[in-house]
């Protein structure tokens, strides 16, 4: 399915910057992109040029089952966005609890979005385990885990590799092949950063989708409210992000002809499943 889900076992790794950068790169590659911000930080809008006082959003109204089409914002960066919306701790916890009780609040509109095979959804999720991630991951074509090239992130590689990050047992085994890793802020002047990057690359092999070098332009891009590819298209980081976007497109399952959902089968073992 054309859903790219960005996540991370830990915060502060530049996941939202990468989400904005990848969305822009995918759009530059000729794909129609919709960014879905599932993180209560509501920061994707800032990366794409919406004003800081713009508080409207989709996720904060999830309990009202809002029309997602009406909530789409065309950002100054030229990318369609469903912002999370302005909230506080109480509101974010309430939304998370509602999503926990009723995952269809998010799954239903997401399936409607994914019905358009020409559209790529780029979803930014909160760091760590979240209700949004548990809903999005089974529907995703690619789950991109963002890590830093440092010791703390490297220590999380076993969690990612074992599938524990996305769930144990069947869920982990089903989602494992979708999971790719991106190393962010690789500093070529740091022995530790290079050692971590080389070690992770050797360890993960093709499951490493790419790496983004540490680049001051990335921080300035947010200060200028533009994705890195728009702010500094010739920068090394922008080229790194474009390479990762190309990898994502290769790994993404090809768009299939929209087929009706298969009807549940009658089963003598599961009599409550009716045809």
């Amino acid at each position: 399915m054309p859903l790219l889900c960005l996540t991370s076992p830990k915060g502060g790794v530049g996941k939202t910057s990468l989400a904005a950068g990848l969305a822009y790169a995918l759009q530059r590659a000729g794909r129609q992109v919709l960014v879905l911000d599932c993180d209560p930080q509501n920061a994707v809008r800032l990366h794409l040029g919406l004003p800081i006082a713009d508080s409207a959003g989709f996720f904060v109204r999830l309990q009202d089952r809002p029309d997602w089409r009406a909530g789409i914002r065309q950002t100054p960066a030229g990318i369609a966005l469903l912002p999370y919306g302005e909230t506080d701790m109480r509101g974010a916890l309430a939304t998370a609890a509602q999503l926990e009780r009723d995952p269809e609040l998010l799954a239903a509109p997401l399936r409607a979005m994914l019905a358009d095979p020409s559209l790529i959804i780029v979803a930014d999720t909160p760091p760590g385990a979240s209700g949004a991630l548990s809903v999005l991951a089974p529907l995703a074509g690619v789950v991109l885990a963002v890590l830093l090239a440092d010791a703390a992130s490297t220590a999380l590689i076993p969690d990612i590799e074992s599938g524990r990050f996305l769930g144990r047992g069947t869920l982990g085994s089903l989602l494992g092949p979708k999971l790719l890793v991106v190393l962010n802020q690789v500093d070529r002047h740091s022995r530790l950063s290079i050692a971590a990057a080389e070690g992770v690359a050797a360890h993960l092999g093709p499951r490493l989708a790419g790496a983004v070098c540490r680049d001051e332009q990335v921080a300035e891009a947010l200060a200028c409210q533009k994705p890195i590819g728009l702010h500094a298209p010739s920068s090394t980081a922008a080229r790194d992000v474009a390479d990762i976007a190309a990898t994502v497109l290769r790994e993404m399952p090809p768009p299939s002809v929209a087929a009706p959902a298969p009807a549940p089968l009658s089963s003598p073992l599961f009599p409550w499943v009716r045809s």
Binding site: L46, P51, I52, A53, M89, R90, H189, S190, R191, E220, L222, A223, C224, Q225
Partner: protein
């Protein structure tokens, strides 16, 4: 505390730091070659001290691998030996962020309303949690 203190000299040698330019240190008054002279025991590195009193079990110390200095600080050029320029403290003047970074301008000019004390739950944000804990404790007593 100065760079000439024995503890600081030992620490600097162990960390591979030379010509410390930390503001709490006094300015070095002589070059490092003089500081490492044998007639100045205070400035001698600890390795020299250990060599002076070798342990009987190890009369010859194995050659230590040459470790590159940590990349914390680059070796300072000789010009660093000049007296540090004492700069006046920066005046506390509110400086507007540069206009080429519009998000900084927005964020620093954006005045959000402070939290309202009479908003439900805001005065005691963990009231429900405390209530649950209190009930649990009460049940546990019986």
């Amino acid at each position: 505390m100065t760079e000439r203190d024995p503890d600081i000299a030992v620490l600097a040698t162990r960390l591979g730091l030379r010509q410390l330019n930390y503001r709490t240190f006094e300015r070095p008054t002589f070059p490092e070659s003089v500081a490492a002279a044998p007639d100045d025991p205070v400035e001698a590195p600890p390795a020299a001290i250990m060599d002076a009193e070798p342990e009987p079990a190890m009369p010859v110390r194995p050659p230590q691998p040459v470790m590159p200095p940590p990349m914390v600080t680059a070796p300072m050029p000789m010009v660093a030996m000049a007296p540090p320029i004492v700069t006046a403290p920066m005046p506390m003047v509110a400086m507007a962020p540069p206009m080429q970074f519009p998000l900084l301008v927005q964020a620093l000019s954006h005045r959000a309303a402070p939290p309202q004390a009479n908003a439900p739950g805001s005065a005691q944000p963990f009231l429900t949690l405390r209530h649950v804990i209190a009930e649990t404790s009460h049940q546990a007593e019986y």
